[in-house]
Amino acid sequence: MSASTQTEPDLVDYDEVLTRYEPLIGLETHVELGTASKMFCGCATTFGAEPNTQTCPVCLGLPGSLPVANEAAIESTVRIGLALGCRIASWSRFARKNYFYPDIPKGFQTTQYDEPLCTAGHLDVEVDGETYRVEIERVHLEEDTGKNLHVGGATGRIHGADHSLIDYNRAGIPLVEIVTRPISCAGAKAPEVARAYVAELRDMVQSLGVSDVKMEQGSLRSDVNVSLAPIGSLEWGTRTETKNVNSLRSVERAVRFEMRRQAAVLDRGGRIVQETRHFHEDTGTTSPGRSKEEATDYRYFPEPDLVPVAPDEEWVAKLAASLPELPAARRARLTEEWGLSPTEMAWLVNAGALGLVADTVAAGASPSDARKWWLGELARRANDAGVELAELAVTPRQVAELAALIGAGTINDQLARQALDGVLAGEGDPAAVVESRGLAVMGESDELGAAVDEAIAGAPDVVAKVQGGKVQALGALVGAVMKTTRGKADAATVRRLLEERLLGS
């Protein structure tokens, strides 16, 4: 049922919610690991493969098949746990979570229940210059489900569908679930803290190289828990769980919406139903899914086909020592190296430009040039095109090349923007575009001399002013030359030529 077909729920203004209630949020985030093979079998995990071409007796749950754990998945999970400062269990087991649903071919999901691999960690996130510590309850390893395609009815939604088609390629891909403890310290910033947490977690997992963390492809997805308590109350309210929120912006919107909706229910003297809700990207609203009364009894029990995982202390210590530089440490280091203020660094991060700028610097550009291009011209173009910076058809190496061409005096800023047009249009690297489009700065040539003479001849009043002592009027003549040369002249050279001719210096 789409949100638009329901009666619009009452909402309380966000600021008003905060005058009466305190929010409590929690996040469960699923990260699909980037292993070559599945969690318990050797099937490939290639995204976008033809449906049902990456399955075998193990991931289809055929009789007699036996799972064997993927060691790279175990290692990746422990590394995530270590990066979150978790305690790594010395003894851990898989369990069966039993339920019938078409996307789960075995009739149960192999997951972890009371003996997860990692517990008790934390992740610090920053919002508007303030640090919030998000406590991590647990990190465990499980397997992903297949994908349902609902046929018939409206727009592939489950309601009104005639039947469903299942692709089991995704079933059995290793999935790490990271569960926070309830976050009570965020107050008015709860929506932003939720978003910042998922962003920081995404960047952290990416820095570990264990997942491509593409939210739009579902390789990182969050369930968002929200409850409200009257201010001063000693007890937390009933929570709702909004499932599979698939972008950072949606995480923030889902928290905000649930706070406003729940406040309206509580204001009326109503009760919040503990339930699963679905988020609708188009309207920014949530609608009810399963209620707790219908929720399946999962009848967990230890998985008898898998032996326990007992991470060796020495092995864990080795993994801990080999963790890469994590995003928070990297930000601190680059802030220092590039001589930025914390606010300037926050801009870079919020613009999604930090990695791009760092790569551009690594490719030879100065930090200030790299920042100037990514936060200026390129940010404008991304904004105009309605895409993320990283989606622009230009690489950090190309931006560094552009900056180098300016530095060498081959092109100026204006020509560089034209060269960028060419790069974005797929005409090749900046140097090649400069060549093919003839964008190089004009040297001291007869052509330039003629353009200077033409400017002088065309503006006798300006010439009179300059020769009468108003040297700043020269700017108008420089502008005229730049116009005739279509920006290809070097302004300093033009100025010198004008001065030589008019002032004899």
Partner: protein, 105 residues
């Protein structure tokens, strides 16, 4: 949670709930029948709890092994026609199932 036994037999509602979880269509008569039978089964299993196990560590596996793993290497999957042949219905390379109502997981 205490284990139900013949002294505290399973109720018809519990049987109906279990039947729903197992996607079994159970008749009214069968609810009574299974309530009685399952209670006896539970009673029998409950006797295991009477064994002296204070010095026996809990185990879920007959073999005292840990860390049995495989390297992250791919192996050929089943051909798709073989996979789909095992399903009651298929369409466009996917397994076709009746419509799913109200339980999006």
């Amino acid at each position: 949670m205490s284990t139900p036994s013949a002294k505290h037999p399973l109720s018809r509602q519990e049987i109906a709930h279990l039947a729903h979880l197992a996607r079994l269509a159970v008749t009214e008569e069968e609810l009574d029948l299974f309530a009685g039978q399952l209670s006896v089964v539970l009673d029998a299993v409950a006797r295991v709890g009477e064994a002296p196990t204070d010095d026996v560590p809990p185990t879920t596996h007959a073999v005292p092994m840990t860390n049995v793993m495989r390297p992250d290497a791919t192996r050929p999957s089943l051909p798709r026609d073989v996979v789909l042949a095992g399903a009651p219905a298929a369409e466009d390379g996917r397994i076709r199932v009746p419509r799913i109502l109200g339980e999006e997981a």
